[in-house]
Symmetry: C2
């Protein structure tokens, strides 16, 4: 059984011993409900799944969309009220009554794509999740790399500029302030204020309100051909490409897999990213790292949680 707890959606799934999904339940996260609400939902969904299946549950894996202390199997930071320092691994283990393993969504995502998605057959790969923020997970030589402080893969907080808006992390110039979903939405709103005539369709898609512009609406506007939306997405892609090129120069992995909400834009994101990578390539240092979209789409972390369950079974 696999759980994926995210800030906007959560999922509970049943997988067979080969990692094939049997059933997945998915709902929106009610942020204001906090921890108590979420745990109740997990309980209900897991019961519903068990009732629909004769297969015994042997182990659980949990992906959490926020900082996790893997060694202590605890959620370590505020994601929604009440999550701080919560022993989520233990809670699932006691509630479901089987061994459980907990990790953050970037690590779960890379495990999912490595075992069941775009990373199959590689030994070294990086998963980059582009949603509200930007995170990443690393598999090197077949092993998940956590880093000295459990911070390996934090590519969203790579400094790429001396200026720009302050990052949520408190630093300035972080990659994610230029190309995360939040950054893209912010650019859309800036256009909405400065040049509303260029983004009428975008505002329309956002219920008529500039303040409600989201990355999702902007991607849809870009898909429909809106020039401003494409321009914003193109600029974000160039920044993202610079971050990916840093990953290529440092690790030179076989594949970089793009996941998370913004990657649902598909080729609208991948094409400008590939073009930007091409433009900054060196004619004499020829890498063959492939940059591809996540095969499991929004489900990479859920599949990763399944992989974790299979490892702990």
């Amino acid at each position: 059984m696999a759980f994926d707890i995210g800030g906007t959606r959560f999922r509970v799934g049943l997988f067979d011993p080969e990692g094939r999904r049997l059933m997945i339940l998915e709902s929106e996260t009610f942020r204001e409900g906090g921890r108590a609400w979420m745990l109740e939902q997990l309980l209900q969904h897991s019961r519903a799944l068990r009732q629909k299946s004769d297969a015994p549950v042997k182990a659980c894996g949990v992906s959490f969309g926020g900082p996790v202390d893997y060694d202590r199997q605890r959620v370590t930071s505020l994601h929604a009220p009440g999550w701080e320092d919560f022993p989520l691994g233990q809670w699932v283990q006691e509630t479901i009554g089987v061994p459980c393993r907990l990790d953050n969504d970037a690590n779960a995502g890379v495990l999912g794509e490595y075992r069941f998605g775009a990373g199959q057959g590689t030994r070294t790969m990086v998963y980059v999740t582009i949603s509200t923020g930007i995170g990443g997970g690393l598999i090197v030589d077949g092993k998940l790399i956590r880093g000295r402080d459990n911070l390996a893969g934090e590519i969203g907080h790579m400094p790429v500029s001396d200026s720009g808006v302050p990052c949520s992390c408190g630093a300035r110039g972080c990659l994610e302030t230029f190309c995360s979903g939040s950054a893209i939405a912010l650019r859309g709103r800036e256009w909405g204020h400065r040049r509303p005539e260029a983004v009428t369709r975008l505002v329309e898609l956002s219920g008529g309100s500039v303040e409600n512009i989201t990355a999702k609406a902007l991607i849809q506007a870009a898909a429909e051909g809106n020039t401003a939306a494409r321009q914003i997405l193109g600029e974000a892609s160039r920044w993202l490409a610079r971050g990916l090129m840093a990953v290529i120069r440092i690790l030179n992995p076989e594949k970089i897999v793009l996941g998370g909400g913004v990657a649902q834009a598909g080729n609208l994101l991948l094409n400008p990213v590939s073009e930007a990578l091409e433009a900054m390539a060196s004619p004499s240092i020829c890498h063959t790292t492939q940059v591809v979209l996540a095969e499991l789409g929004a489900n990479s972390p859920l599949y990763g949680a399944a992989a974790m369950a299979l490892e702990s079974a």
Copy 2:
């Protein structure tokens, strides 16, 4: 027996089975002599070492200051005339009559520091060599990481800007165009032309000629307190810190070890680098990666070659 072949100096050393050096011979590289000259020197130096020692030579390791195809044990690019696609590993093996292993100086450097220097006791570390260019070697979980195309650790060619002078690699905005030894020397010469009164001592140290300003002279001027030289070194350090922070965000290694010619500046380099890292740190993403100077100084690659010899013995 260990060989370290660099663009400006080369070394031949004898090491005992525990990796302690018994003897090291060091000379300047005569670039114009090309491959033939260098091979003759290696032969003479290795003979000299063998004559002075009763210890039998059981294996050789070779560090080459340029691109190496490790799988084929060949030098793959021009370093000095005649090196292209030369089977240096095989040559040493046949000439010295013992097993030999060949790698580039960044990989040799990280091995040296990991086994015998500042990286001892770590499992994951990065060695960054700052000399004419900037290179790097990675040890992850106790293993040297080469990457898909043998390009892991090429942090000198991480794009950090849209502008700047063209890089030797053919791309633009590479890290090493801002903080390598060549970049530092170039800044010194620029000052020499634009504001000669600020760098009189630097020009003096360069034999009176602005065109002869080197990174080494600039470091010496900075050590003597020259303001302009310190400013140039400080700016280079800030760029270097940005590259190191990318390494920290992606890999979060236990240690980053700074080696190569420019790192011989010691605290004149390390202090501004540490300050710049401090300035760009995040208050909420607290890493404990240590940035330190190479303990083996200019000999990191030679010790790494010894480590390679010990592994192949």
